[in-house]
């Protein structure tokens, strides 16, 4: 929180879209950018950006992860906060970049970058104190907090605080919400049966809430959960919180 708050409300922020948003959920990225813009913040999207490096990191290929991470860091050199519409990618930066570069010449630059990283809802609530006006019809939603948003990024109740501002949105608590949905990147295909058991339990819990939408701040989880709901012919539609907030507050359906 220190960086942007110390300098007051920032006028400009960087947006790091993440590879999965880039290729599968660009609407979530765009909605995140628009939310920031509508709060009066100028958004810069460095064009050369790609991926935080997490896929290689989690597979144990640290050299490759480091090379890709460094390629990103260089693109975000100015003193702006870096806003990321994913707790997992932001968590990769915050929790693992320092270790990846410890004792290397790039260390200081990396630490400066890391101190500027925010998960989107954290930034909207903690820094911008965003106020929302609900324009949508009544709807029942449930919230899936991602493991890395909670445990690496320290995202707490920010997403729910945003949702609670929406007067016609009923938020139903997801039982065992803190339990992993079973995505875990390569885990889902290296241990497919365990992963399947996890996501099957998760979509069962979601169905039990009766929610029309299952919201999350991480597209990896959404791809996993959404894919499983679709295959099972379930009801709840998966949606990134940024897209949901933008739809509700700007009436675009």
């Amino acid at each position: 929180m220190t960086h942007a708050q110390a300098s007051g409300r920032p006028r400009t922020v960087y947006f790091f879209g993440t590879c999965i948003v880039d290729l599968f959920y660009p609407g979530a990225g765009l909605a995140g950018i628009k939310l920031l813009q509508s709060a009066g913040v100028e958004v810069v999207f460095p064009d050369g950006q790609s991926c935080c490096g997490q896929p290689a990191y989690n597979s144990g290929y640290l050299d490759q992860a480091r090379a890709v991470a460094w390629a990103q860091i260089k693109l975000f050199a100015k003193d702006y906060p870096v806003v990321v519409p994913s707790g997992s990618c932001a968590g990769m930066m915050k929790t693992h970049y320092p270790g990846l570069f410890r004792g290397r010449p790039e260390q200081a630059e990396v630490e400066d970058f890391v101190a500027r990283v925010y998960e989107l809802t954290q930034f909207l609530v903690d820094v911008l104190d965003l106020e929302l006006d609900d324009l949508g019809p009544p709807v029942k939603v449930t919230w899936h907090p991602s493991c890395h948003s909670m445990r690496e990024m320290g995202v707490a109740d920010q997403p729910k605080r945003l949702l609670h501002q929406l007067s016609k949105v009923e938020l139903v608590e997801l039982p065992r919400e803190r339990e992993c949905c079973g995505f875990g990147g390569t885990f889902s295909v290296r241990q497919p049966e365990i992963s399947a058991a996890m996501v099957t339990d998760k979509i069962g819990a979601i169905a039990g809430t009766g929610a029309d939408l299952v919201l999350s701040g991480d597209c990896g989880c959404l791809m996993n959960i959404g894919g499983a709901i679709e295959k099972a012919g379930g009801h709840a539609r998966p949606l990134h919180i940024a897209e949901f907030l933008w739809e509700r507050t700007h009436g675009r359906r």
Binding site: G60, L62, K231
Partner: protein
């Protein structure tokens, strides 16, 4: 046990409804009990930091503290034996027991003894070993191994135990009443304690400055094993040492609250020597066997060393979404769950257990609850690296490092890094995937695994990069 077994066993466990229900129920209970005792976040954070510091400090000075411990134990009249391998450890036990002509042994819960396969080794010599911890007694009756490091019979429900007792205990009536079941076991065990020639126990912490062995338990069986027979042999991994007596209370507090949601256990045994002249009880001889079994090798690497901080509370498995679903018997080696995933490959080697570090979604639930702040997820990643033969600069390679290396995988990650490092390449590949990604064959092995319970992921028609350009968002 080969790693391939993990997937096969996990498959069986996942299909066993009763087993899954047993674990789910038990883990839910343990999680909520623990949560109640750590409700005060400030206290938890402070106590945990203290616990982590105590363990880290002990490890930093491990060789020196072990020497000090040995000296103090000897001063106290406790005989110390060093075992480099499990075979050495078993041989030491056999030797001590045969010198005393011991034929009947009672034993308290000890995971290190499981690691050694001690029961087997002693039974092969014709020595009767009776597990005196209720959970251990249950699984011994059923010829099983522990499915949990704290609650070894947690995979069984009441009805299963009732059936087992009525079949295996002489003259036992079938009952599902927990108190009566406990009473049945108690009656058998009491007789065994009285007749035992020796008692074996584990150790929760060994204090270097005082030469004290600390042992916590809830049933009194530990106290019986260590005081009733004439001979007591304790066994521990070499990492269990702490420097000062005052470091024990925070460790125990973290241990019992994390493990069973108890503020303190019913029994806290502080063993500081054999019976002294004039004393009415206690063993005439006390021995401590200190086992290495690969721990020195773990110790040699500053990052991997953190594995040895573990106080075996079991919280990581109680909170693990994988463990909860596959149960303790799916894991190779004796330590299941997250701690097993980092410890077992380092002891047994990555050749046979290199898949274990990959059997995690890296959800960090274990990291969140570990009372001594072991960075379990980072260690899993390190072991994944080791499997691929990528020991970091200045690190000590894990046993079997490089044995899981696949050149194909090396190439995939090299190509990946190139594409995600070079904006132009990234742009090209994004273009190709958004336009033609749908044409990728669905029968590729990875996609097939994904699609067993999920629909096929669909690439967007335009990447975020393209949308940003189209919307005129500054994209320097």
């Amino acid at each position: 046990m080969a790693a391939a077994d993990f997937r096969a066993k996990a498959h069986d466990a996942l299909g066993n409804r009763e087993l899954r229900a047993n674990f789910r129920r038990a883990m839910d209970g343990l999680m909520s009990k623990r949560a109640m005792l750590f409700a005060d976040r400030t206290e938890w954070t402070a106590l945990r930091a203290l616990g982590a510091a105590v363990r880290a400090r002990s490890l930093l000075r491990l060789p020196e503290l072990l020497e000090q411990l040995e000296t103090r134990l000897r001063d106290n009249g406790i005989q110390v034996h060093w075992a480099e391998t499990v075979d050495d450890g078993n041989a030491i036990f056999k030797d001590i027991l045969s010198r005393h002509g011991a034929r009947r042994v009672v034993k308290g819960k000890s995971m290190v003894s499981e690691e050694m396969g001690l029961n087997h080794a002693l039974e092969a010599e014709g020595i009767e070993v009776i597990e005196a911890d209720l959970g251990e007694y249950i699984i011994q009756l059923d010829h099983e191994t522990p499915s949990h490091i704290i609650m070894p019979a947690i995979h069984k429900n009441k009805q299963q135990i009732a059936r087992l007792f009525s079949q295996k205990i002489k003259d036992a009536e079938y009952t599902e009443d927990v108190d009566r079941l406990t009473d049945l076991a108690r009656r058998v065990l009491r007789r065994k304690f009285a007749a035992a020639d020796a008692g074996i126990s584990g150790v929760n912490a060994a204090v270097a400055e005082t030469g004290t062995l600390v042992l916590v338990e809830n049933e009194g069986n530990g106290r019986m094993c260590t005081t009733v027979p004439r001979l007591h042999i304790a066994v521990m991994g070499l990492e269990k040492v702490v420097e000062r007596l005052e470091e024990v209370p925070p460790i125990l507090s973290l241990l019992t609250r994390s493990a069973t949601g108890q503020v303190i256990t019913t029994y806290v045994n502080m063993i500081s020597g054999p019976r002294k002249p004039g004393e009415k009880d206690g063993p005439e001889e006390v021995h401590l066997v200190i086992l290495d079994n690969g721990r020195s090798r773990i110790y040699a690497d500053p990052e991997l060393r953190n594995t040895l901080r573990c106080i075996r509370c079991g919280a990581c498995m109680n909170h693990c979404p994988v463990y909860t679903r596959v149960g303790g018997h799916s894991y190779p080696g004796v330590y299941p769950g997250p701690i097993g995933k980092i410890l077992t490959p380092q002891i047994l080697g990555l050749e046979t257990t290199g898949d274990l570090p990959h059997a995690s979604s890296l959800c960090n639930a274990c990291v969140e609850v570990c009372p001594v702040e072991i960075p379990i997820a980072s260690l899993l990643v390190r072991l994944r690296s080791e499997g691929a033969g990528k020991t970091p600069h200045g690190g000590a390679p894990v046993k079997g490092a490089g044995s899981r290396r696949k050149s194909q995988e090396d190439w995939v990650w090299r190509a990946w890094a190139l594409v995600f490092r070079m904006p132009l390449l990234n742009r090209l590949s994004n273009f190709a995937l958004t336009r033609f990604g749908w044409a990728l064959p669905s029968d590729s092995p990875l996609l097939r695994e994904w699609m067993t319970v999920r629909s096929r992921p669909r690439f967007a028609r335009r990447s975020l990069h393209e949308l940003v350009r189209r919307e005129g968002i500054p994209h320097e």
